[in-house]
């Protein structure tokens, strides 16, 4: 009975935010601001509590049976094809649920203050709740299609929230861009789903959902032949949602939205959905080294590439955005090398410190009366103490300073990259360099913002003030989390238990099980997967020295980066200048303009597409060919025939008589010749 109750909770975890959104949305202006805000926060809070309850229940269950599911109804059903409207929680989704609702709750609180004076207060919280609903559907969805529902839902919410201040054309455009780019990714995602369905449907009898994760895992051997294709297609979707190359372009623009949105959606939760999905489908990914390699490559490339751009940006949020992209690259890299646990671990820690950083920057922007350009900031250390210290914590965390959260997750990822069969030295090196750059540009950010003299107009300066408690409180909490958050993953070689990995073990172990009795052509893939796990599991046992060395190296490297950043932008600013002008400054220009990728897309696809559609398809084929030539043409031909015949109707009796006789003659001749 009791567990039934907890199962029922699952649907409410998802629905309560929806109710909140509905109430807020319908009542809208009629609802006083405080009420609206509290309603929203309460909704998220409740679902956070419920998530905790269910999560605790999981912890009480035996390791292999940690799975709670709640089937609401049959969604689609036609013959052997069936999809359920169902939710489920296992260790993986449990973690995600906690992160989403937890961080989400904090950011709701924060928004109370941040949006206090905004006209669309109620609308904002409607969207936020809606987002939590969608995100929870994504996380708790029991099958791939439910996940897809959430997937599209969060896309919609991000669209709505990016374009929240829609009166500015740019914001609207950014929102649209985000949605469409995501759609491109979803295109691949859908095809992946189809491919799965095609291989599973024959073996269904309508008693179980086709796309249910359990079903897929159970019949994984039917999927094995197409594993590579499926995984790559799914990964296309992931690149869209998690802003990987080549579809990352929407994320920087997405910063047009209110800062809490950037924190919640475009840093902490939604963008990690891709990683979550890959991890979720790990049992399939491990069967295909190719796909894994691609994932890893894309991930590490993104990590490096984005951080180079971040070096030169002047908009405080843009810097954070690109850093987010590169961090996401790390997560993908982890998944790519089979270290799903590490990936998810980084998802969590990153959620903490990146949310923190964004909220901090929000607090700064708030103080600077909506100024985002770092070049006119500076010297805020005194004026915004809380913001400064929490921000600093976040910076060290992301830079991977021991013993902050970032250190553990990032270090583990790098180590796995180095050690596991899927990885190697090259990816490690690249990731390592990226880590250094991360530290550097974060320090640059901090220095430009908080140190030195303030470069803003006196009028602005006069308004600078520390944010209200509703905003600082979440900052503090998140700061604490980003300090201690990593400890649950304290690695073995430091004598920790790496509880986090152990917790996720059942989810990812099952993958290898499936791989083991998969078709024989994927055996060595399975072997590799097994090897990876084996290694992670017993790393503590033998040669931890290498691990120590790498950990130390990355720590030093991080510190070095921080120091360099501080040095360059605090003491010797001319150095920065000279670097910028390196080689005629072309390098800097390229980085500043993000490698001109947007322009490239624009020139390559968008403009030609429109021109083609307008001039060739519409004006040319539709109006010209079909309507003009075929339709009106045939009509004209008929008319012409008519008027030609009219000519004979000339009113001359004698001509009539003549044609009459001609008719007769023809007839007579025909008769005489036909016999």
């Amino acid at each position: 009975m009791e567990n039934h109750a907890t199962e029922i909770l699952l649907r409410w975890i998802v629905l309560v935010p929806l109710l909140g959104a509905a109430l807020n949305g319908l009542l809208n202006r009629r609802l006083p601001r405080q009420a609206a805000g509290l309603l929203a926060c309460a909704a998220v809070g409740v679902s956070f509590v419920m998530s905790v309850v269910v999560f605790l229940r999981l912890t009480n269950m035996p390791v292999e049976a940690r799975f709670v599911s709640d089937t609401v109804a049959t969604w689609m059903s036609l013959g052997s094809f069936r999809v359920d409207l169902a939710f489920a929680m296992d260790p993986l989704s449990g973690v995600m649920a906690l992160v989403v609702t937890g961080v989400g709750f904090l950011i709701h609180i924060y928004s109370l203050g941040y949006m206090a004076h905004d006209a669309g207060f109620q609308r904002f919280f409607t969207y936020l709740n809606l987002f939590i609903f969608a995100m929870m559907t994504l996380v708790l969805g029991e099958n791939l299609l439910m996940l897809f529902v959430g997937w599209e839902g969060v896309g919609l919410c991000s669209y709505l929230l990016i374009a929240f201040w829609f009166t500015d054309e740019a914001n609207a455009a950014a929102g649209k861009k985000a949605f469409i780019v995501n759609r491109v990714g979803d295109f691949g995602f859908l095809l992946g789903i189809f491919l799965i369905g095609v291989h599973l449907l024959p073996h269904m009898d309508g008693s179980e959902g086709v796309f249910s994760f359990q079903t897929m895992q159970h019949h994984v051997n039917f999927l094995a032949p197409a594993a590579t294709a499926i995984c790559l297609l799914l990964f296309v979707g992931a690149t869209g949602k998690s802003a990987q190359i080549p579809l990352y372009i929407w994320l920087p623009d997405a910063m047009a939205g209110p800062t809490p949105v950037s924190a919640l959606i475009h840093a902490a939760t939604m963008v990690t959905a891709g990683v979550y999905m890959v991890a979720r489908m790990n049992f399939l990914f491990v069967l295909t080294p190719t796909a894994m390699a691609v994932v890893a490559a894309i991930g590490v490339a993104t990590a490096f590439f984005a951080s180079t751009i971040a070096l030169t940006q002047n908009d405080i949020k843009k810097v954070l955005a690109y850093s987010t992209v590169s961090q996401l690259g790390y997560m993908m890299l982890a998944c790519g090398v089979g270290a799903f646990a590490a990936g998810i671990f980084h998802v969590m820690t990153h959620a903490f410190f990146k949310a923190l950083l964004f909220l901090g920057s929000g607090s700064v922007i708030h103080a600077m009366s909506n100024e985002q350009d770092m070049r006119v900031m500076g010297g805020l250390r005194k004026k915004l103490p809380v913001t400064f210290w929490t921000f600093l914590a976040g910076t060290f965390a992301i830079a991977g300073v021991f013993p902050l959260a970032g250190f553990f997750s990032k270090d583990e990822i790098l180590w796995k990259t180095f050690s596991s069969a899927g990885g190697g030295v090259l990816p490690w090196v690249i990731g390592f360099l990226a880590a250094g750059m991360t530290a550097f540009y974060m320090m640059r950010l901090v220095v430009l913002t908080f140190f030195g003299q303030n470069r803003a107009t006196p009028e602005v300066q006069s308004h600078i003030h520390e944010s209200p408690w509703t905003m600082t409180m979440p900052l503090v909490i998140l700061a604490v989390l980003s300090v201690v958050g990593g400890w649950i993953g304290w690695p073995h070689f430091m004598g920790g238990a790496n509880w986090f990995e152990a917790w996720l073990e059942p989810v990812f172990a099952s993958a290898h099980g499936a791989a083991a009795h998969g078709a024989h052509d994927v055996v060595q893939a399975a072997g590799h997967g097994a090897a990876a796990v084996h290694e992670t599991a017993h790393a503590a046992g033998h040669d931890t020295t290498m691990e120590w060395i790498l950990a130390g190296a990355s720590l030093l490297w991080g510190l070095l980066g921080l120091a360099l950043g501080y040095f360059v932008y605090m003491k010797k600013t001319d150095v920065a200048e000279s670097v910028r002008n390196l080689g005629g400054g072309w390098l800097h220009r390229i980085l500043l303009n993000k490698y001109y990728v947007d322009e490239a897309y624009d020139g390559a696809f968008i403009r030609p597409g429109f021109a083609f559609s307008k001039n060739v398809l519409w004006k040319g084929i539709d109006a010209g060919l079909i309507d003009g030539l075929l339709v009106n043409g045939s009509a004209l031909t008929v008319a012409i025939f008519g008027s030609v015949i009219r000519i004979f109707q000339n009113g001359m009796i004698r001509f009539y008589a003549w044609s009459f006789t001609i008719g007769v003659t023809v007839y007579v001749l025909y008769l005489s010749f036909s016999g």
Binding site: G642, I645, G651, Y656, Y667, Y670
Partner: protein, 504 residues
């Protein structure tokens, strides 16, 4: 060498009564018009209608036997009775419409009433003909009277011209018809259809006499039903004649023409296959296309309807083709021949009735909507906004147009359905396809009238007519059009019964 047979006449008066009534009525009206001084406007029309209705009534209560009268000069059968109904009905409608504009300057024509009665008499005789001579005389009675109806509008040069054109070309064509008859007579050695039938059954067919003869007769009939290339008089004459006469010609005379065509086709089965079928199929297709294509270009509604009537003649000719189509081989050849004969014949008759209804409705409205003075009188654009000034008339006109275009649920569609069904049944699918293509083309110009009436704003000189009798009459016809479109069964069966007794 048989004797004078006045004594025998008594036995045959019964079946002859309708004919006698119409003839006598014509004479009576003539005398009344001549000698009764105190005539009021509608008296003559009442009288004429009374005569026609009387003829119909007598027809209904009279004997329904199939007999040959007057030494086989004519017959009475369901066939003739059917057409007598049709002709008399059309006559009544025409008289109503004519009376509607009776007091218009130039349109007062007391001679109209006797003449139309004689025209109808001629048609009735034509349909009942069982002898080349009867056929010819019926045809000429009809034609001569029509020449006068067309050309007799005093003070209207267009009418006179139309009349003369019709007359002189009619004479020209009847010369061909007569030549054909002469040759056929030469083949059969007798003018009676019975004689011809026996001669045909007797075997060896003289190709020249039969083939050329029936060909020339087809030419003659073709002239009457406006078959391309013998159609060219049609638009001009329809245009020049007063609208009510045009309506009468477009319906009654066409019906008469097809009556005799069908009659003759049945008579000559299956020898016509070689003499008529190939050329007639070409002519039929030409007729459909010419009619529809030229109608597209018309601005004058009477000319438009004239051309459309040519097109409809084309559809009907398809029916005739189905009737005479060389029956496909096989054991059940005779069976199929009969089946096809009945279905196509019934289809033709049904179509004639439906076509007459909708065309009469249209012409009745044209008759009052357009004062018959010169071209601009019938310019379609003068109907602009009619749907506001005279909704009833506009609605009736619209339905008539849709029905003519063959859109369900109106009789026009049902007629086409039966007709094309017969054509397909006879295995002439290409012809059926050409037929539907034509009804497609026709849609455009029929819709145009509706467009003008309903979708164009009214102009000040749009329409000035107050005559309501015609409008009501047309509306009644329209109700029939709809009813027959929804419940055609009874009418079709009546039409089919006509052919049950006939051997094909």
């Amino acid at each position: 060498m048989n004797d004078i047979l006045i004594p025998q006449l008594g036995s045959q008066v019964g079946p002859l009564l309708p004919y006698l009534i119409v003839a006598g009525g014509g004479l009576l009206i003539m005398l009344v018009d001549a000698f009764v001084r105190t005539l009021k406007k509608d008296h003559l029309s009442y009288l004429a209608m009374f005569v026609l209705i009387g003829a119909v009534v007598v027809q209904i209560i009279g004997d329904q036997s199939d007999t040959q009268l007057l030494n086989g000069m004519m017959i009475t059968s369901d066939f003739t009775r059917f057409f007598n109904f049709l002709f008399c009905g059309i006559g009544v409608m025409t008289i109503i419409f004519a009376t509607g504009v009776y007091d218009r300057e130039g349109d007062y024509r007391p001679e109209f009433y006797p003449l139309i009665l004689f025209t109808i008499l001629g048609m009735m005789v034509l349909a009942a003909a069982n002898d080349l001579m009867t056929l010819f005389l019926g045809l000429e009675t009809m034609s001569l009277a029509t020449y006068i109806l067309v050309g007799g509008v005093r003070g209207n040069i267009r009418s006179s011209e139309a009349g003369f054109k019709y007359l002189i070309l009619g004479g020209f064509s009847s010369a061909f018809l007569l030549m054909g008859m002469a040759l056929l007579y030469g083949f059969a050695g007798g003018t009676g259809f019975n004689a011809i039938a026996t001669a045909l059954d007797a075997g060896e067919i003289d190709v020249l006499l039969v083939g050329l003869g029936s060909a020339l007769m087809l030419v003659g009939f073709g002239f009457k039903v406006a078959m391309v290339p013998f159609h060219m008089w049609t638009p001009d004459v329809y245009d020049g004649a007063p609208a009510y006469v045009t309506g009468f010609m477009a319906t009654a005379i066409k019906a008469a023409g097809f009556a005799i065509l069908v009659r003759f086709a049945i008579l000559m089965q299956p020898q016509l296959a070689f003499a008529w079928f190939p050329v007639l199929s070409v002519f039929a297709v030409l007729t459909m296309f010419t009619g529809n294509l030229v109608a597209l270009a018309q601005n004058n509604i009477k000319r438009m309807l004239a051309w459309s009537s040519i097109a409809h003649a084309g559809y009907l000719l398809l029916g005739v083709l189905a009737m005479i189509s060389p029956a496909t081989g096989g054991s059940d050849m005779m069976m199929r021949a009969k089946e096809i004969g009945i279905s196509s014949g019934a289809a033709i008759l049904f179509y004639l009735v439906g076509y007459s209804l909708m065309n009469l409705a249209a012409f009745g409205l044209v008759n009052i909507l357009s004062h018959n003075k010169g071209e601009e009188g019938e310019d379609i654009n003068r109907y602009a906004g009619l749907s506001r000034t005279r909704p009833m008339a506009a609605a009736s006109m619209a339905v008539a147009m849709l029905s003519l275009a063959g859109i369900p649920p109106f009789v026009g569609f049902m007629g086409k359905f039966y007709l094309f069904e017969a054509v397909v049944r006879a295995g002439l699918i290409p012809l059926a396809i050409l037929g539907v293509i034509n009804s497609l083309i026709s849609v455009y110009y029929y819709l145009r009238v509706i467009v003008v009436m309903y979708m164009k704003p009214a102009e000040e000189d749009s329409y000035h007519g107050t005559e309501w009798v015609s409008v009501v009459t047309s509306s009644v016809l329209i109700l029939l059009v709809i009813y027959m479109g929804v419940q055609p069964q009874a009418f079709y069966q009546a039409a089919a019964r006509v052919f049950l007794g006939i051997t094909f």
